[in-house]
């Protein structure tokens, strides 16, 4: 990259519109409809699980929310790599939005899991490998936010955040694969082959009934894609507006 082609900060801050873009409005409406439809499928359409009762319905949001967090945090990795290569601020905004939305969705995943675990495992929390690794994953991204706050030089902040955002993804991968590596987990694996035999408590068959499958098929794209993408868009937009306020302040002062 030639240094000349890089725009000066003053010009990159400008090209922004004040109103909400049409695409975002459409996406917002779609997300709201999607979440509502997903809730209907989960709470109304799918039939009650014979063994677990109504509490099993939480699964339709629980797992898709984790996939959503995965998508958002993958956005952070992409944003980080692209920022380091192009030094375009928009990629850093994507990375930051990914982290914040990722934390939110991972918390939804964790809390819904706890609510489910109370009746099924008879405890809110247990030191199961997957629960522990997800808690650590959330803390890693909390550390990401702390790291950002600890750096005053904005350019350095973006650079370090990009580096850390890339490294931190290791904890996401671990959370994802740990049920395959550590067979002593009690967390059920409901999709794909599992090494578990009888350790998992509260497993059920996704393929068992069409109701389960349909409810998952509606909720999955909503929570895994629509929700994170919409939220990240809003977050990026917020960052743009905050930056404009900052730029206007600087202009007024100098």
């Amino acid at each position: 990259m030639s240094a000349v082609s890089k725009a000066t900060p003053a010009t990159t801050e400008q090209a922004q519109t004040t109103g909400r873009p049409l695409g975002l409005t459409i996406l917002t409406v779609l997300t709201i409809i999607g979440v509502a439809a997903g809730l209907y499928m989960a709470l109304g359409y799918a039939r009650t699980d014979l063994e677990q009762g109504d509490v099993q319905r939480i699964f339709y949001i629980h797992m898709p929310a984790f996939i959503g967090a995965f998508v958002a945090l993958l956005g952070t990795v992409i944003g980080g790599i692209m920022y380091l290569r192009t030094r375009n601020v928009k990629w850093d905004k994507l990375a930051l939005a990914g982290v914040e939305v990722g934390i939110a969705l991972a918390l939804i995943n964790l809390i819904t899991g706890m609510v489910w675990a109370r009746p099924i495992w008879n405890t809110w929390w247990t030191w199961d490998p997957r629960l522990t690794s997800e808690a650590i994953m959330i803390l890693t991204y909390a550390a990401y936010v702390m790291l950002r706050q600890g750096i005053e030089n904005v350019e350095q902040r973006r650079r370090f955040a990009a580096v850390y955002g890339i490294l931190a993804f290791v904890t996401v991968i671990i959370t994802l694969v740990i049920t395959r590596v550590r067979p002593d987990t009690i967390h059920p694996v409901v999709i794909g082959p599992s090494v578990q035999t009888d350790t998992a408590q509260g497993a059920f068959e996704v393929a068992a009934s069409t109701g389960v499958r349909m409810a998952l098929m509606v909720n999955m794209p909503v929570w895994a894609l629509l929700v994170p993408v919409t939220l990240m868009w809003y977050r990026i937009r917020l960052e743009n507006l905050a930056e404009r306020v900052q730029a206007l302040k600087l202009k007024a002062l100098s």
Partner: protein
Amino acid sequence: MKTPFLKAVFSIVRKDLQIELRSRELVSSMGLFALLSILIFSFALELDRNARREAISGVLWVTIVFASVLGLNRSLAMERDQGNLDAMLLAPIDRVAIFFGKLIGNLVFALVVGLLLLPIMTILYNYNLFQPWLIAVLLLGTFGFSTVGTLLAMMTVQTRARESLLPIVMMPIALPVLLAAVRASTNILTDNPIADWIAWVQILVVVDIIYLVVCFLLFEYVIEE
């Protein structure tokens, strides 16, 4: 024009060892911390001769990790405080040579502390920790978190929060290394058959390699301005 890569790396290692021999700052503070940590763990967990061997490998690793955090902070703060990082960046050397130079230095200090712990724990807990596989795992594990530690410490010493930030950002990232190392050492100490735990050593090797490559690629971005 450029100074050969290996010469640059070993100049930096040699300099770090020379400073350490002169001041004994790192190894003495790390060693003292490690000793205290072991004693505190023995009290807190009531680790007597009948203690579970799982607990011993956990204590060993937690102690080594925290001692290295201490050492990493010191070792890189030294480069920042008098602007020596700038002096190295001014020299016609490959920037990654700085990473490898600091990494090897940090690894040596962490290993010295780790190897110091083995006889002490052998005596205190009455278990023979001098087993070739355990030493191999010690080497691999220490290498893994010295790698991420060197990269992250280079980053955190440049921030406002400085020393306090390193454990927070390093622990979660070092977790895979720690997990594999603890599992492997526990199995080695309980004399389980090699087939049961060799997978953990393999995971450790793979994670080490991944971290080395990623940190190697990212280091340049941590030192530029």
